[in-house]
Each structure stands twice: as structure tokens, then as C-alpha cells.
């Protein structure tokens, strides 16, 4: 098992190198020149040229890449063209916000998704099933940004129940320890900050969770339906155990195994969805920031972020596989990967 994990981690390296090349190509070869925006209203062509030279943008592309990758290996992703701060710092100032949002969203999505899915499967073709699946269908069909705006209009603009933007009331902002406000506020024992963070999370997390929840609900339903058809479920029933136990202990455990993969994949797509949610809710996360940086051609930041997200994504896949193995004893790591 350990060997398998190490092997998988080693396999990540080429993937990450590939990702960095892809991003590098898109950004440096095809994207607009960052110089005019960096230099602003008064920039002259001479200043632009000088700036490009200073930032190595006139070097041949492979040299630029080597420079970038050697920097990356030593943990130096360069400085943002725009704020001139180290990219690492820029990223880690925003990353916790995205992760906090995404984790809460995936939690909501999994919880409700699995619940709806299981009920729908067990009560197949009942009103619960139909209602649940209709909800799921709407969930996958609604643009996430539209949903977000509708939520803001309704819960913030009309009812004034929930805040429309930001992570927390700035007055309650906890000490910056981990960057995760939920954790930081707990560490400092600040219950008000914790509550306020949660309140701020509700709308964006719900908007973000909707799509994943729908996917998870649908997958859970079909997985459960399939599991309920399995021979071992019949065996369990033949043992005379109660139906609740059959579903809870035998069907759910098996039915959830494929769901783990789905949840893992959803986390990846949540990071993507965060781009839109963060834009709508002015969430100080990495998604909206990256979009802004792409549009500003802030190469170092975009390269850094994408590399980071890709790392998180592939690690996530690895974790999913490990959980998978934990849930499903049949998976053996001695088998060569196909």
C-alpha cells in the first residue's frame, strides 16, 4: 500500500510538468502582453520594452520555461507582475478561502446528495424519488452563477437574512493562523467569529454545492439501485435481518464506493465552479482572483495557481483512491496498473 502511494506520487510529477507546460504555452505564447496593463495609463512603448526585457519576456520561450520551472522547484514562483508580491504569498492569502468554501460545499453536496439518492433508490418511483430526481435535474441544469444571483436577490436583497458577500464581518475577523476562518475562530475560541463565518458561507456554499449535490444524488441513486440488485443483498435478506439493516449496513456501504470517486471528481469541478461562485459572491478566493489574473495576463500568478490547483486535484484523486481501497477490500495494489 505504501509502495503504491509512493509510486502514485512519483507518477504525479510528469503530470504536473505537463500541466505547467500547457499553462505556460497558453499564457506565454498566446496570451496578450501584460506590459501595458502593468505599466498603466502613462506607459510608453519604450517603458513597455524595458519592462519586458526586465521580466525576461524577450527570452526564447524554452529559456523562460526553464527559468520558471527551476524557480518552481525551489519554491519560488516569481512575483506577480501586477502587485509585485511573491506569487506564493498571493496564492496562500486566498487559497484557504476557496478551500473552506469548497469543503463546505462538498460537505453539503455529499450529505444532501447521498440522502436524496438513498431515499430515491429505496423508495423507487415514489413521490420522494420523483421529487428528489426532479430537484437533481434542475440542479444540474441551472447555471451556478444564475443560482447564486437568485440566492442573493432573495436571501440578501429581499429578506436581508444573509450577507451577500465576503467571508466575515471584518470587525470579527479572527487572527490569521491557518487562514481558515472556521478553524482560526475555533482556535482563538471566538464563537461569534465562527458563527459569522458560517453565516457568510451559507449562500455561496449552497450555490456551489447545488450542481455537485445533484450529481451525487443521481449517482447515489443509480449505484444504490444497482447494489440493491446484487446477490449479497439477497443473502443478507435471507439471513432474516431487518430491512433497515440490509440497506444501512449492506447496501449503503457497497453503494457508496463508487460515490467516493464521484465526490472526489466533484471536488475538482468545485474548484472550477468556485471561479463563478466567487465572482458572484465577491468571495476572496483563488478562483475569481485567477480569472482576473488570466485577463490581466499576470503570467507568474496564473502559472502558480494552475500548478497548485493541479497538484491539489491529482492529490485529491490519490486520496480518493486510497479511501476507495479502504472502503473496498477487493482492490489490490499488487496488480499492475492498466
Amino acid at each position: 500500500m505504501l509502495r503504491y502511494i509512493i509510486k502514485r506520487i512519483l507518477m504525479l510529477i510528469p503530470v504536473l510538468i505537463g500541466v505547467s507546460i500547457i499553462v505556460f504555452l497558453i499564457m506565454r505564447v498566446f496570451s496578450p502582453d501584460p506590459a501595458p496593463i502593468v505599466l498603466g495609463q502613462h506607459a510608453t512603448q519604450a517603458a513597455v520594452d524595458a519592462w519586458r526585457q526586465a521580466n525576461g519576456l524577450n527570452d526564447p520561450i524554452y529559456l523562460q520555461y526553464l527559468h520558471f520551472i527551476s524557480g518552481a522547484l525551489t519554491g519560488d514562483l516569481g512575483n506577480s507582475y501586477y502587485t509585485k508580491a511573491p506569487v506564493i504569498k498571493e496564492i496562500f492569502a486566498r487559497f484557504p478561502a476557496t478551500i473552506e468554501l469548497a469543503l463546505l460545499a462538498i460537505l453539503l453536496a455529499s450529505l444532501f446528495g447521498i440522502l436524496i439518492g438513498v431515499i430515491s433508490a429505496v423508495k423507487k418511483n415514489s413521490i420522494f424519488d420523483n421529487a428528489g430526481m426532479f430537484l437533481a435535474l434542475i440542479g444540474v441544469s441551472m447555471p451556478i452563477f444564475w443560482l447564486g444571483i437568485l440566492l442573493i436577490i432573495f436571501f440578501s436583497g429581499t429578506l436581508h437574512w444573509l450577507p451577500s458577500s465576503g467571508r466575515i464581518d471584518p470587525l470579527l475577523q479572527p487572527l490569521d493562523i491557518t487562514g481558515f476562518y472556521l478553524i482560526d475562530s475555533l482556535i482563538t475560541g471566538d464563537i461569534n467569529a465562527f458563527k459569522d463565518t458560517l453565516i457568510h458561507l451559507i449562500l455561496p456554499a449552497s450555490a456551489l454545492a447545488m450542481y455537485s449535490m445533484a450529481i451525487i444524488a443521481r449517482m447515489t441513486r443509480s449505484s444504490m439501485l444497482e447494489t440493491l440488485q446484487q446477490d449479497y443483498i439477497r443473502t443478507a435478506r435471507a439471513k432474516g435481518i431487518s430491512e433497515g439493516r440490509v440497506i444501512g449496513r449492506h447496501a449503503l456501504r457497497n453503494g457508496l464506493i463508487p460515490i467516493v470517486t464521484v465526490i472526489g471528481l466533484q471536488l475538482g469541478s468545485l474548484l472550477g465552479g468556485a471561479v463563478l461562485t466567487e465572482t458572484v459572491f465577491s468571495w476572496p478566493g483563488i478562483g475569481a482572483y485567477t480569472v482576473a489574473c488570466i485577463l490581466k495576463s499576470d503570467f507568474p500568478v496564473v502559472q502558480g495557481v494552475v500548478l497548485l490547483i493541479a497538484t491539489v486535484f491529482v492529490l485529491m484523486n490519490l486520496i480518493v483512491d486510497v479511501i476507495y481501497a479502504f472502503l473496498d477490500p477487493r482492490i489490490k495494489y499488487s496488480k499492475k496498473e492498466v
Partner: protein
């Protein structure tokens, strides 16, 4: 973010100790030499001071860190007498050495390409001499009338602690240290910047202890935040939400803005190398109607390039008047049937409706006089890049005044750089007048030069000035003495909350 709250302990600050200002974007940084954006300026005005500052209601210069100053008769030497006993937030002294240090870093040989305003503000400076601890002499290479105005700007001109600059690699974007009424506390990226009142401030101390700048990108969300009490003041609103805000019991702050929103013809090539045709097309556009509809009364239709309150403005200046019939006729005669419009997708301070909306409305007007317009629109960065190629007939642009000097607007039409002079306008006579204007000392003579320049511009119709955007902000009723300076900044030193 960095660092923790310096004082106040764990106790959350009381609400009326704190002003929360929500703006649409995050500052680019807080080093006045390195940034050029309005969002940064709003924060910096509270942290830093320059040698001079603008009057509250105009762009007249007043004493700030310089108590008094003298200008030599040849206009080449400026001597400043500094305030005594002023300290930077890091405890170091503000003195003549500090002034020299700040200017030196922005003039050759130290100046770098990314110091956006360095050459604009200090471009004419030859060197700086420290006379004594509180006296400093600045020598220019040629006379420059706007120089004093420039020294009151929030970009480039403010005084930064030399110690902080040395410690931070000549870049205090993330760790600003000035002499101003507020001290920097922390910056949570994409969330907020927290400032606290400077208890050792040499001047009148700030009334409110904490100021928080919050970043809410979405316009509607910012309005919701104000109405929900999540913010005390917001900016960057447009006309459509005013009712929403006032209905919720909040107030609107409205002031003329020092900017111009214009449409430019590509004068370098056919068809618009023909001034008559330019005028004819401008005739086809009902500027007042369009401005009213797009900005709902929160932008003035422009009659000239200069905003009304800038020296050199003259009531007599007028652009071609709306006359679709005449336009149609002229256009038909010239055989013009299609034009290529290029525009930007973002809202800009001078055009809250986005360049795209503007272009599309003009597309509407043009179609009425038989011109089919195609629109290519790009985000601002790409747009500026694309402008260079000059592959357009019509484009859109705007300008925010930096220092209230008329040259700051008019020189654009004389600029060499195609991304500045987007009309690619070339007129020797015009250029000569511009040079003359810079060297002429302030006064009626100088103003006459700019009025003349305006007249040339209107006659040549290289630009169609569209509007001057008003500054539109909103604040909660318990906020007192809030104001927004015409240069686009919000000093909070005198603002309080009940």
C-alpha cells in the same frame, strides 16, 4: 494578511469606531511609486502625505508636509520648507533626506519601468538638494507649470519612509509606511484592508479609530452590502441603483468628476482621415439622449474635452450638434457604409456602462444613418494591446485627470504613443501650443492657450467627447462629513459616525 492587530487586544472594535468603505476592486498595491489605480489611491490618501495637497473642493494646491515653498523666477528651482517634528509610522523622522530619497528613487538612474507615474510627476526634475534638515531644493531641467500640482497627487508624490523602503526591497506595496492620519494594520487579500488612526499624527487627528476598505466586486452586491449594513460607504455605483439605495434610507454623494469619456476616430487612415466625414458621423449621434439613457443623469453630456471646473474650460466651446439628416446626407455622399468599432468590455470610472454598451448604442445611431458597424470588444488589457495595431475606424477611451491641470487632458492629442493618442491625431500647430502651455506660468494667458487647443480639437472632430462622469457614492445616514475628492480619493480624517 500579515501581522496582527497592533492594539485594541482581542476585543472587537465597537461599530462606531469603525468606518467600512466598500469598493469594487482590490488595490494593486500601496506603494505610491509603483501603482496607478484609483482603488489604491483611496487607501493611500489616508496613509501617506505629499509635500503638497489639493484643496478639499478643487485642485488648488495647499501646504502639507511642506509648510511653505518658493519658486525661482526662471521656474527651474523649487525650495520647500518642511514641517518639523513629523514622524513616519515606523517612528523614523520625516526630513529633507527623506524627500530626496523619495524623489531620487523615481528619477533616473534609479527609476524603473514599472514606476507608472515617476516620469509624469518628476519627469522634469534634474536633481534634489538637501539644504538642511528641514529644507530641500528641487532643480528642474525646464520650467513646468503643472509641477506643483503634480506634487499634490496621490500617485508617486507621497512621502514613504526610507527605512521601510530599504527593508522591503524598494517596494512597500504590502507594507506601506507614511506620515498620514491612518496607519496600515493588515491586508486580507481580496477581502479587506484595515487601517487604524495614527495617534502620533502631527496634524488634526482622525475622528474615527478604524477604517476598513472592503472589496466587493459585484455592483449589486455592494449595494446589498450597504443596505444590509455590511458597509458604511460604497462607491462605483451607477444610476440604476440610486433609487434602491435611497429607498433603504441611505444617502447618495454626488460630485463632478475630473474625467472625460470619449469616442475617437482613427485619423491616420481612410475613411476618417477626413475631418468632414468625422464631423458628419459625430452629427449622427445624439449624445445627450445616449448619456441620459446610459448614465441616467449621473454623467454630464460633454461639450468639451476639459471638465467644467478645470482651468481653460470655456463655455463657448461646442462639438457638432446632433443632426441625423445632415449626417445621413454627408455620409451618403462620402459613400461610407460600414465601420469597424473596437471597444472594451469593462466598466471604467468614466464609463460605468462599459465600453461595450456605449459602442452598441452608437452602433444603433449609426445604423439610422446607413452605416453598419461591427464591434470587436476586448477586456481592457487586450484592448490596449489591440489598439496599438490601429486596426479600427472608431474606438472608445477615456481619461481621468491626475492633477487638475488642463495639460493633463489636452496633451493626449499630442502624444506620440498610439495607446495614449488613440485617434492617432497629428497636428503640428496643436503640438506647438501644448509645449507652450506647459512652459507658460499659470494665469489667464495660459488658460487662453488651452481654450484655443479645445477649439482646434472640436473643429477637427478627432474625438467625440461623450460625457464627464460624476462621482457617485452612497453612504449610510449615520456617517458624517463623508466626501469624495474630485481626484477620486476618499480622505477619512474628518469623517465620523454616530
Amino acid at each position: 494578511g500579515c501581522g496582527s492587530k497592533t492594539d485594541g487586544g482581542k476585543e472587537a472594535p465597537k461599530a462606531n469606531d469603525t468606518l467600512i468603505y466598500a469598493q469594487g476592486a482590490e488595490p494593486r498595491g500601496l506603494d505610491p511609486a509603483l501603482v496607478d489605480d484609483g482603488e489604491s489611491a483611496k487607501v493611500m490618501i489616508n496613509i501617506y502625505e505629499g509635500l503638497l495637497k489639493y484643496n478639499k473642493d478643487s485642485t488648488k494646491v495647499e501646504a502639507s508636509l511642506a509648510k511653505t515653498w518658493e519658486v525661482s523666477t526662471d521656474g527651474l528651482t523649487y525650495t520647500f520648507h518642511l514641517q518639523e517634528g513629523v514622524k513616519f509610522h515606523d517612528g523614523t523622522d520625516f526630513d529633507a533626506e527623506a524627500v530626496k530619497f523619495n524623489i531620487d528613487r523615481q528619477i533616473p538612474p534609479q527609476v524603473t519601468a514599472d514606476m507608472a507615474y515617476g516620469s509624469f510627476v518628476y519627469g522634469s526634475v534634474k536633481n534634489v538638494e538637501v539644504v538642511d534638515k528641514n529644507t530641500v531644493k528641487v532643480n528642474l531641467t525646464e520650467p513646468s507649470t503643472p509641477f506643483l500640482s503634480n506634487l499634490a497627487m496621490v500617485m508617486s508624490a507621497p512621502m514613504v519612509s526610507p527605512k521601510a523602503l530599504k527593508e522591503n526591497n524598494n517596494n512597500v506595496n504590502q507594507a506601506p509606511v507614511g506620515t498620514g492620519p491612518y496607519k496600515f494594520v493588515k491586508w486580507a487579500k481580496d477581502e479587506n484592508i484595515v487601517l487604524v488612526a495614527n495617534d502620533e499624527y502631527w496634524g488634526t487627528k482622525a475622528l474615527t479609530k478604524n477604517v476598513i476598505f472592503k472589496f466587493i466586486k459585484d455592483n449589486s452586491a455592494r449595494v446589498v452590502a450597504l443596505n444590509n449594513g455590511e458597509a458604511d460607504m460604497i462607491d462605483g455605483i451607477d444610476a440604476t441603483v440610486v433609487k434602491q439605495i435611497t429607498d433603504a434610507g441611505n444617502k447618495i454623494f454626488q460630485a463632478p468628476g475630473m474625467n472625460v469619456n470619449y469616442m475617437a476616430y482613427n485619423t491616420s487612415k481612410a475613411p476618417f482621415n477626413n475631418a468632414k466625414l468625422r464631423a458628419a458621423v459625430s452629427q449622427a449621434i445624439n449624445v445627450p439622449e445616449m448619456v441620459k439613457s446610459l448614465y441616467q443623469g449621473y454623467s454630464e453630456p460633454a461639450t468639451s474635452i476639459l471638465p467644467t471646473f478645470v482651468e481653460g474650460y470655456d463655455k463657448s466651446i461646442a462639438q457638432v450638434a446632433y443632426n441625423p439628416e445632415a449626417a445621413a446626407k454627408a455620409i451618403k455622399e462620402a459613400g461610407l457604409t460600414s465601420v469597424k468599432i473596437m471597444t472594451y468590455t469593462n466598466p471604467r470610472p468614466y464609463n460605468s456602462a462599459t465600453g461595450q454598451a456605449l459602442a452598441e448604442s452608437i452602433q444603433g445611431y449609426l445604423s439610422k444613418v446607413g452605416i453598419t458597424a461591427t464591434i470587436d470588444s476586448y477586456d481592457w488589457t487586450t484592448y490596449k494591446e489591440k489598439l496599438k495595431a490601429g486596426n479600427y475606424d472608431i474606438c472608445f477611451y477615456g481619461w481621468i485627470g491626475d492633477n487638475g491641470d488642463p495639460d493633463n487632458f489636452m496633451y493626449l492629442l499630442a502624444h506620440e504613443d498610439p495607446t495614449m493618442n488613440v485617434a492617432l491625431y497629428k497636428n503640428e500647430e496643436f503640438n506647438k501650443l501644448i509645449a507652450k502651455g506647459i512652459a507658460t506660468p499659470a494665469g489667464p494667458d495660459r488658460n487662453a492657450i488651452y481654450t484655443e487647443l479645445e477649439k482646434i480639437a472640436a473643429a477637427d472632430a478627432a474625438w467625440l467627447p461623450i460625457s464627464h462622469a460624476e462621482t457617485l457614492c452612497a453612504y449610510r445616514p449615520d456617517v458624517k462629513d463623508f466626501y469624495f475628492h474630485m481626484t477620486g480619493v476618499t480622505p477619512f480624517v474628518g469623517v465620523s459616525k454616530q
